[in-house]
C-alpha cells in the first residue's frame, strides 16, 4: 500500500515537472484523471484513479494512440465540489488534456458540467447515477436508473414475489430521483401507497436501530417485503450490521443495493450480509475471459492479490476503450471529431459481451443481480437476457417523460421536448 502511494506521488510529481517544462507536451496525448484522492470520497475514487493509470499504461504498452504515448495527468479535487470545477478547468485549459475520466458523486459531475461544456472537453463519467441529464460533452458509462434500479425491482417482483417495498436511501439527489422513478414504476405496476415505505437518512448515518426496527415491523405483515437500498458509502456498514443483529435475514427481507460493490464489501464483515443482493452491470465473479484477464492485470498492477474489481472500474474500462477507438476512428483527439466518432462505437465489456455508445451518450449494458457471498463476492442469481440501453430521461417522471436525447445531426440535442419541439438547457453555442 505504502509503495503504491509513494509510486503514485512520484508519478504525479514527475507529471507536475513535465507539465511545467512543457517541452514534451507535443509528443504525448494527455488524459486527465479527476478523482478525489483525499477527503471523504477518496475511499471510492482512489481505485478509479489507479484503474485509469493501469489502462493508460496498458495502452502505452500496446503502442499508445495515434502513434503517440498517452500521458496521465492526475489532480486531486479533494472531495470538494467547487474544486472539481476548478481542477476540470485546469485540466482542460492549462494541461490541454484530450479527455477527462473522472468524478464519482453527482454533485461533482454537476459542478464540472458547465466547465466541460464551456471549454468543449470530453468527460467520461463511470458511476451509476440518477439520469435526467445528457450533455454534449459527457459520456455516461455507468448505469442509468433503467439499467440498474428497474431491472432489480423487476427481479424482486417477478422472481421473488415481493409485494411490499422499502425504498431506503441517503438524502441526496441520486436516491431521491431513483426512488421517485421506482415509486412511479411500482405504482404503475399496481403497488398500493401503503405498501411503499420511503426513508431518507443523512450521509454517513451510523445509528440505524430505529429505522431497521421500523423496516422489521413494516416487513412483518406476512407479505413478502424487500428493501431497495440507495444508501451511500459509509452508512452501509452500520446498516447491514444492524440488519444482521436485529435478525433480518436475506430470506425474510432481502436488501437490494445499488451502491454496494466488491470494494465496499471488502471493508465489511460479510457474514451477516450473506444473501443480500446488489444490482450492477458487472461483478468480479463473472466468468468471462475478458474479466479474468482484467482481474489479473489489475492485481499485478496494484501489486496486491487481495484487491477486488468493481462496476465503476468496468465502466472506466469501457469508457476508455471507447474513447481510444473513437480517437482512432476520427484520427484525431479533437473534441468535436471524437464526439462524432464515438456514437455507435462498440467495445467488449468485461461480462463477455459488447457495450455500445448510444446517441444519448449512455451505453448499452447487461444488468446482473448478485447475492452477497461470505467471501465478499457476488453470486449472479439473475441477469437480463440481453443488453439494456441507457435511458437519459426517465419515462416514469412527469417532468422528463417527453424529453429525449440524441446527439446526432440533425437533432443534436440533449434534452429535446417532443411535445413542445424545443431544445432547452444547453450551455454551448
Amino acid at each position: 500500500m505504502k509503495t503504491s502511494y509513494l509510486k503514485s506521488s512520484l508519478v504525479s510529481m514527475a507529471i507536475a515537472l513535465a507539465g511545467m517544462s512543457g517541452a514534451q507536451a507535443a509528443e504525448t496525448i494527455k488524459v486527465g484523471i479527476l478523482h478525489s484522492l483525499s477527503g471523504t470520497m477518496a475511499i471510492s475514487e482512489t481505485t478509479l484513479k489507479d484503474t485509469m493509470l493501469m489502462l493508460i499504461d496498458e495502452q502505452n504498452k500496446k503502442g499508445g494512440l495515434l502513434g503517440m504515448q498517452l500521458e496521465p495527468v492526475v489532480v486531486d479535487p479533494a472531495s470538494n465540489w467547487p474544486l472539481f470545477a476548478e481542477k476540470a478547468r485546469e485540466l482542460l485549459s492549462q494541461e490541454k488534456v484530450a479527455a477527462i475520466f473522472g468524478n464519482w458523486t453527482s454533485v461533482s459531475r454537476k459542478s464540472v458540467l458547465p466547465v466541460v461544456e464551456e471549454l468543449n472537453g470530453l468527460l467520461f463519467y463511470p458511476v451509476q447515477y440518477e439520469g435526467e441529464e445528457s450533455s454534449k460533452n459527457v459520456f455516461y458509462t455507468g448505469a442509468a436508473p433503467n439499467q440498474q434500479a428497474i431491472p432489480a425491482v423487476d427481479y424482486l417482483m417477478n422472481d421473488i414475489g415481493v409485494k411490499r417495498w422499502v425504498l431506503a436511501g441517503t438524502d441526496y439527489v441520486y436516491p431521491r430521483t431513483t426512488n421517485k422513478i421506482l415509486e412511479a414504476y411500482l405504482k404503475a405496476k399496481g403497488v398500493a401507497d401503503k405498501d411503499i415505505m420511503i426513508n431518507y437518512t443523512p450521509f454517513g448515518h451510523s445509528d440505524w436501530q430505529s429505522i431497521v426496527s421500523e423496516i422489521k415491523k413494516f416487513g412483518s405483515t406476512g407479505v413478502k417485503t424487500a428493501v431497495v437500498s440507495t444508501i451511500n458509502g459509509d452508512a452501509n456498514v452500520p446498516f447491514y450490521k444492524e440488519l444482521g443483529n436485529q435478525g433480518l435475514s436475506a430470506e425474510d427481507i432481502p436488501v437490494v443495493a445499488f451502491s454496494v460493490g466488491e470494494e465496499e464489501l471488502s471493508g465489511i464483515d460479510t457474514k451477516p450480509l450473506v444473501g443480500h443482493l446488489a444490482a450492477w452491470n458487472y461483478f468480479m465473479s463473472v466468468d468471462a475471459e475478458a474479466n479474468s484477464g482484467f482481474i489479473d492485470a489489475w492485481k499485478s498492477f496494484i501489486k496486491n492479490d487481495k484487491r477486488v474489481t468493481n462496476d465503476p472500474m468496468e465502466a472506466h474500462y469501457i469508457g476508455f476503450n471507447m474513447w481510444v477507438k473513437a480517437v482512432e476512428k476520427a484520427g484525431t483527439t479533437d473534441s468535436d471529431a471524437v464526439q462524432q466518432a464515438i456514437i455507435g462505437v462498440s467495445v467488449p465489456n468485461l461480462t463477455g459481451g459488447y457495450s455500445a455508445m448510444l446517441p444519448n451518450h449512455h451505453v448499452t449494458k447487461p444488468v446482473l443481480i448478485g447475492e452477497i457471498q461470505e467471501n465478499g463476492q457476488f453470486e449472479v442469481v439473475w441477469q437480463t437476457s440481453g443488453l439494456v440501453a441507457g435511458d437519459a430521461w426517465s419515462d416514469f417522471l412527469p417532468g422528463s417523460k417527453d424529453i429525449i436525447a440524441d446527439w446526432r445531426a440533425p437533432l443534436a440535442c440533449g434534452n429535446y421536448n417532443v411535445k413542445t419541439a424545443k431544445c432547452s438547457g444547453q450551455n454551448y453555442e
Binding site: V75, E86, V107, K110, D171, Y172, R176, T177, I403, N427
Partner: protein, 366 residues
Amino acid sequence: MGLLNLLKQDRGGQLFLGLLALAAVLVPLLNLLPPEGHALHLSTYTVTLLGKYLAFALLAIAVDLAWGYLGILSLGHGAFFALGGYAMGMYLMRQIGDRGVYGDPLLPDFMVFLNWDALPWFWYGFDMFWFAALMVMLAPGLLAFLFGWLAFRSRVTGVYLSIMTQALTYALMLAFFRNEMGFGGNNGLTDFKELLGFDLQADSTRIGLFVVTALMLALGYIVCRAIVQSRLGRVAVAIRDAEDRARFVGYRVEHVKLAIFTFSAVLAGIAGALYVPQVGIINPGEFSPLNSIEIVIWVAVGGRGTLYGAAAGALMVNYGKTYLTGALPEVWLFALGALFVLVTILLPRGLIGLMKTRSKKGGAAA
C-alpha cells in the same frame, strides 16, 4: 482625506492596497492583451482562480476582525459565507429562467424533478438583483445578530463560543443537505447562466468579476481598517484583553461584540456572494465545520490582528492548496496539518508578526 489619514500609519495596508490595485489593473490587461500562448498571457483559468482567492481574502479579513480584534474565535464563519453564497446562488438560479433542462419558467431544475409544484416562499424576490444583494448581507447578518444576541448576552465566551459557532454551522450543514429545505440538497445550486445579463462563461464577465472582487476586498479592508482605528475598534481590543475592565468602565460589551460580529458576518456573506459566480456552484459542503476551521488557519498563518496579514494568509494557503493538490495530492493533508501545528506553536502572530518582529524588534504597536 479621511482615507489618507487612515492609511498614513498603516505601512502594510498601503502595500496591500497598492498590490491589489496593481492586480486589478494588470490581471485584466495580461489576460486580454498578450495572445494565448505568449509568456505573459494570463489564462482565464488563472483569473478565476485569483478571483476566488480574493473572495477568500475578504472572508479572512472578516474573520480577523472578529478574532484578531474582538477575540471571538468563530468556527462558524463558513456558515455566513455560505449563506451569502446561497443568496447569490438563488439569484443566479432565478436568472436561468426557462433555459433549465426542463424548460420550466419559474422552478429551478432540481425542484422540477423532485416534483415541487410551486416556488417556496423564501425564493420570492430573488429574481431581482437588488433584493438578492440585500439578502446577501441580511441573511448572514440576521443569523449572526440572533446568535450573537443570545450568546453574548448570556456571556458565552472563549472556547464555549467557538464550539457553539461550530455547532451552528454543523446544524446548518445538515439542514441544507436536506432536500426538503428547498435549496437543492447535496447538489446545491449550480448550472448558472448569467449575472445581471452578463454571460457567466464569457471571459469578459470573469475579468469583471475579478475586478469587482478586488474592489470589494479593498473596500472591505478600508472599512475594517476604519473600524479598527476608531474608538470602537480600540474598545473591541480592550474587550478582547480585559472584558471585565471594559464593562466596569461602562462599555456595553455585549453590544460592541454584537455590532462587530454582525458586521463581520455581513462581510463574510459578501465574500460568499462574490465567490459563487466565480466557482459556479454553491452547496452545503461550504457549511462544513472543516471549512470554517480552515478559514481560521488562513488568518493564523498570515497573522491575526493585522487585517492585511489575514488576507495574505488566505492568499498563501490557498495558493499552496492549489499547487499541492495538483502536484502532490497525497502530501497535501500532511502539509496543511503540519502548517497548523507549526504556525500555532512557533508563530503565534503569524508570518506578518514574524516579519514585524524581524524588522523592528520590540516595537510598540500591536
